[in-house]
């Protein structure tokens, strides 16, 4: 399965038929949450997904930071899409994204120093998150501001959801806590490996396995009822 795709052919438009504009916009928003979830389906933005999800709050924070950068840069790219020449578009997108990321970095460092310490250099690495560049290239550069905003929010929230799930699972298993609150008391022997790097690989691998399995079941059921 190819991973980092900058080509738009994986953006599947829902069947057009007689859908009302409002409902179609909802589709743009919703697709990022589940059907085209950036982490579980398209396997984008891997580096932050595994590195900072050793606890639920870290995963959540990273997801929200990425969502903010994604929405901001998508809107800006969409606003400027008629002005940016095709030849330099990637470079311009990167400049825009890098600016947003630096601002987020400074803001976190000033007002949420604990989170900044926990996420560390991975905040800056948001700029090379394939997800953001892919959304600019395949959607924001070709659509209006409102739809780009919906697309970005959907993808961003889907990403945040995925990171939060990863972080929560790893924290509960590896530390016996959620958001720092101990769940099982002293008797629980934490499965330490879960908050260490191998745990990240394993948990995401098994989650993808579950996704594949549920997709297969759905396909089988469809074939049976056909």
């Amino acid at each position: 399965m190819p991973t980092c795709k900058l080509i738009p052919n994986w953006k599947k438009r829902p069947a057009m038929s007689n859908k009302v504009i409002g409902s179609q916009n909802m589709q743009e928003f919703l697709k990022g949450l589940w059907k085209e979830n950036p982490v579980f389906v398209a396997v984008l933005g891997m580096c932050p997904s595994l590195a900072v999800t050793n606890s639920a709050i870290n995963g959540l924070a990273m997801g929200l930071a990425t969502t903010f950068v994604l929405i901001g840069s998508s809107i800006l790219v969409s606003l400027l899409r008629k002005v940016i020449p095709k030849q330099v578009r990637i470079t311009t997108y990167i400049v825009i994204i890098a600016t947003f990321v630096t601002v987020v970095d400074f803001t976190l460092q000033a007002y949420f120093p604990d989170i900044h310490k926990a996420l560390g250099a991975f905040i800056s690495l948001i700029v090379v998150n394939c997800l953001i560049l892919a959304r600019q290239e395949s959607f924001a550069s070709k659509n209006g501001q409102w739809r780009s905003f919906l697309d970005a929010s959907g993808m961003g929230l889907g990403f945040t959801f995925a990171l939060f799930t990863l972080g929560a699972i790893r924290e509960v298993l590896g530390n016996g806590s959620l958001f720092g609150v101990s769940l099982f008391g002293k008797a629980f022997e934490p499965w330490i490996v879960m908050i260490l790097p191998p745990g990240g690989f394993f948990v995401l691998g098994f989650l993808l396995l579950l996704f594949n399995w549920s997709a297969q079941r759905r396909k089988q059921r469809k074939m049976q009822t056909a």
Binding site: T91, S124, C130
Partner: protein
């Protein structure tokens, strides 16, 4: 000297960029079907990393003192330029190699490992020599991880794998086992 060895071994094995720090996963999961390709990609990585480390050090020491907020943006632009330059150079010097690497070369630009190297190296305040050794260790570590995963994937090609786990899910689980194995290197250079 002791410290340089520690920096090298730490980046290569103990804090492996791919298996411990989760950097450079896009190519790791996507481009490791064949060992030879993975090895070449690893070498290209090392090359880009070394040049980036030098460029990052130069920038950080002489330019960014006046404008520390430009760090991220200047690094990413430098990396993009370095990759472009490397691509042109390889195209001229070895068209065969260029063809073999194909699309991987431009993809190195968005490779977290390169930017991660520049950021970590400047965060830790490494000098010129230390940054260089760090880049060699990090690039070497990425290459080792790439080659390991590629060789395992080549072996599993002939096996009967259940459909649910085929593809990225299996690669991640294999990567997890590799990561677990590499954890054994911790304490390799512990204080004596």
């Amino acid at each position: 000297m002791n410290e340089l060895i520690w920096i090298f071994i730490s980046a290569l094995l103990i804090n492996n960029f791919t298996l411990s720090l989760f950097l450079g996963l896009c190519p790791f999961l996507g481009v490791t079907q064949r060992m030879e390709t993975a090895f070449r990609l690893g070498l290209a990585n090392i090359f880009v990393m070394v040049i980036t480390a030098i460029a990052a050090y130069v920038l950080n020491t002489w330019v960014l003192i006046y404008a520390p907020y430009l760090r991220l943006i200047s690094f990413i632009i430098v990396i993009a330029s370095v990759v472009q330059f490397v691509e042109i150079a390889i195209k001229k010097l070895s068209p065969v190699l260029f063809k073999a690497l194909g699309i991987f070369l431009p993809l190195i630009t968005t490779n977290c490992a390169i930017l991660g190297l520049a950021l970590f190296s400047t965060n830790k305040g490494y000098g010129f020599l230390e940054g260089l050794i760090y880049a060699l260790g990090a690039g070497g570590g990425v290459t080792i991880a790439l080659v390991l995963l590629a060789s395992i994937r080549e072996e599993t090609r002939i096996l009967n794998i259940p459909n649910v786990v085929k593809g990225t899910a299996l690669n991640l689980i294999i990567a997890g086992i590799l990561s677990l194995a590499f954890m054994g290197f911790a304490g390799l250079f512990g204080s004596h």
